[in-house]
Symmetry: C2
Subunit: 214 residues, 2 copies
Amino acid sequence: MAGGPLKDVEHLHTDTATVRPGGRTARVGEAVIDATLSELSEVGYAALRVDAVAQRAGVNKTTIYRRWGNKVGLVSTALIERRGQLTPPADTGSLRGDLVELLKEIRLGLKVPWVAVLLREAGPRTAASADLYELLDMFWPARFKVSRVIFERALERGELPAGTDPDFLLEMISGPLYFHWLMLGHPLDDAFLDRVADFILHGAQASPPSTDRR
Amino acid sequence: MAGGPLKDVEHLHTDTATVRPGGRTARVGEAVIDATLSELSEVGYAALRVDAVAQRAGVNKTTIYRRWGNKVGLVSTALIERRGQLTPPADTGSLRGDLVELLKEIRLGLKVPWVAVLLREAGPRTAASADLYELLDMFWPARFKVSRVIFERALERGELPAGTDPDFLLEMISGPLYFHWLMLGHPLDDAFLDRVADFILHGAQASPPSTDRR
């Protein structure tokens, strides 16, 4: 199956969006996404087969290819719908409060079985991981876009210096949680999240605008 | 093979340390460690067999069991000798300079094939990963101990507030590199390392003593 470009997948999405919500198309969509994530939990991305997803969802595999294009299109849709297009983090009124909410959201994500499986398959970007990165390159921008809003709010409130780069802050905030949980194998308790939130808050407020460093 | 406690492994080390360096014992030790890391690169930790290491090193497997106790003892020795007991980071005279040196050292580590393989096998601490964590729980303290020295120097120079927790800072500095490289698949270029160093510097200098948050 040739890898279809993102544009094609979006085009297919637009077509299905014309079908009324709650109808058969929506039900099939949910069933296929559930089946995709179950397969992902069990076998990971590299070993995932569209046939197995189709069988699990009780649909014909041509239905999947027609709607999602290919394996990358299918799995990226599942990821983005279930982890990428989350509700924006709660507006607590302060950057520190919003950071804690975001850290809790990242913690929740790390405990989702198919997220853990997928992250274990990631790694340096190599020829062997190109297929997985085609997927991750669609996922991360969606995930970052939703999270970015807390820094935009903080900028409006004057809690962050002008020129702050939200995506860099998102890496600074996500990295320690991934490291603590996946590399050190330590629990992500509230006390740790609080310490990370404080550190990010001070680092972000004290840092010069990121554009100076580029 | 029953898992021998760390104490036994250390005891065995002490015994071999009485043999003069550069002799047959030292040569066998180097050959076995090289073979262990090669096997690790190829098959990972879970699938690594002491038999295969012995064959590769051209030694009898009873030699390995006698000297390193078991698979955990063997692999942890290899890891600690080759990645844990590194020379302490260069003393550049400033915390920012030392941070950049440390970040470069972490970057080097992430590109070692057997490190990458091992990190991919890590993950949440579960019953299934207990054996790997027996190993990582020996490795990380050795690694952190060597790196901690740069924060001790900065404390002496008055560049960090009293009560700073070096191990927390090490997580804050390592996490973003792991995330950038292993999760996002982005290159670890010097510009990124500089930005991380600046952020950590400002965060660490502005943060209240970590003991307040415990």
